[in-house]
């Protein structure tokens, strides 16, 4: 059975598309699934550094499309997760180097011997987004609980529907539980009511994402991180499993309170 092409997109930049792509990909690969992550953000390559594979790039997406290398040569295999591959974006070209039909052809080939093809879409609603949307079997829209990100997510959801690629599912990223509790941040319920789409994951704001990204290690490989757990759960839901949603509060209990007492200001 051919694999599924999943596009991760947001409209607004900086909400966590690349981090989500890297981590969902790593989580699926850790479960033994065969995964290819494609950085579709041509000219603004980043999935390579987030995955820690930047030093091994020889060929890129545009080289494959323009026939300068075979598909296999542009696929970088992750050392920690042997079932995880990356096809990096070209850094010195722009979106016009690739067309939606190029992406459809490429993804169709990759689907034949992989379970998942994850596409990290560029921000915006222009050519790069169209390239990333064209081959999608499923679309994940990621947003933050902030008005500009929610508004852009709504626009993207509408475009995904118009292209008959819907219904998109929502990842709500960087939720600050304490602010939600104070009534100073939109809650998951608020965002879902506004956007009226199905939720696939809620990811708490977690400093460990920054530190693990600094090191080029997917956060899902950190068994203790709550964001890592949230991304692992998204991967399982994507694969069709029914997984209950994590509460966004940090672990309470005596130990939790004690650690917070000992490390005030820590998470």
């Amino acid at each position: 059975m051919p694999g599924k092409v999943v596009t991760i997109t947001s409209g607004k930049g900086g909400v966590g598309k690349t981090t989500a792509t890297a981590n969902i990909g790593a989580a699926l690969a850790a479960e033994g699934q065969r995964v290819v992550c494609i950085d579709a953000d041509i000219g603004l390559r980043n999935l390579d550094v987030v995955l820690g594979l930047e030093n091994r790039i020889v060929y890129d997406l545009v080289d494959v499309i323009e026939g300068r290398c075979r598909l296999r040569q542009a696929m970088i295999r992750d050392k920690r997760l042997p079932e995880l591959y990356l096809i990096p974006a070209a850094q010195t070209r722009d979106k016009s180097a690739v067309s939606p039909s190029d992406m459809m052809r490429l993804c169709d080939e990759l689907r034949q011997d992989h379970d998942w093809v994850l596409l990290d879409s560029p921000a915006g609603i222009e050519r790069g987004f169209r390239n990333a949307l064209a081959p999608a079997n499923m679309v994940l829209v990621i947003t933050n609980p902030e008005i500009s990100a929610v508004r852009d997510a709504d626009r993207i959801i509408g475009l995904v529907e118009a292209e008959e690629k819907g219904p998109a599912r929502l990842i709500l990223n960087r939720i600050k539980a304490d602010m939600v509790k104070r009534g100073d941040m939109l809650s998951a319920e608020d965002v879902l009511e506004l956007l009226a789409i199905e939720l696939i994951g809620m990811v708490p704001d977690d400093e460990n994402v920054v530190t693990s990204t600094n090191r080029g290690l997917p956060i899902v490989l950190d068994g203790k991180s709550r964001a890592g757990m949230a991304f692992r759960n998204i991967a399982r839901r994507l694969a069709g499993e029914s997984v209950p949603f994590l509460p966004m509060e940090e672990q309470g209990g005596f130990l939790g309170r004690l650690t917070r007492f000992i490390r005030p200001g820590g998470d």
Partner: protein, 91 residues
């Protein structure tokens, strides 16, 4: 300080609530591509057309956009002019 007092006495709503209310309106207009000004023009046209057939009170006409899932619905509430109707009934 005043905002602190406002909050203490519950006079100011929480910022998340404000954000949600603002977003509801913004999203409706984004999705329908209908600006508040265009909505007013639509209302005026609607009143003009209906008034050709039946007496209505233009000031009482309400037009709202509501949301059901991701579908938008235009709801018009047009009360008929009661005085005129009674008079017409007498003749």
């Amino acid at each position: 300080m005043s905002s602190f007092l406002d909050r203490l006495f519950g006079r100011e709503s929480k910022s998340a609530q404000t954000a949600k209310e603002r977003m509801k309106l913004v999203l409706i207009h984004d999705r329908t591509d209908l600006s508040p000004a265009a909505m007013e023009a639509l209302k005026d046209d609607l009143i003009a057309v209906i008034s050709r057939y039946i007496e209505i009170d233009p000031a009482a006409v309400r037009i709202d956009m509501t949301q059901e899932g991701r579908e938008q619905r235009l709801i018009a509430d047009i009360p008929l002019s009661p005085v005129r109707r009674r008079r017409m009934g007498q003749t």
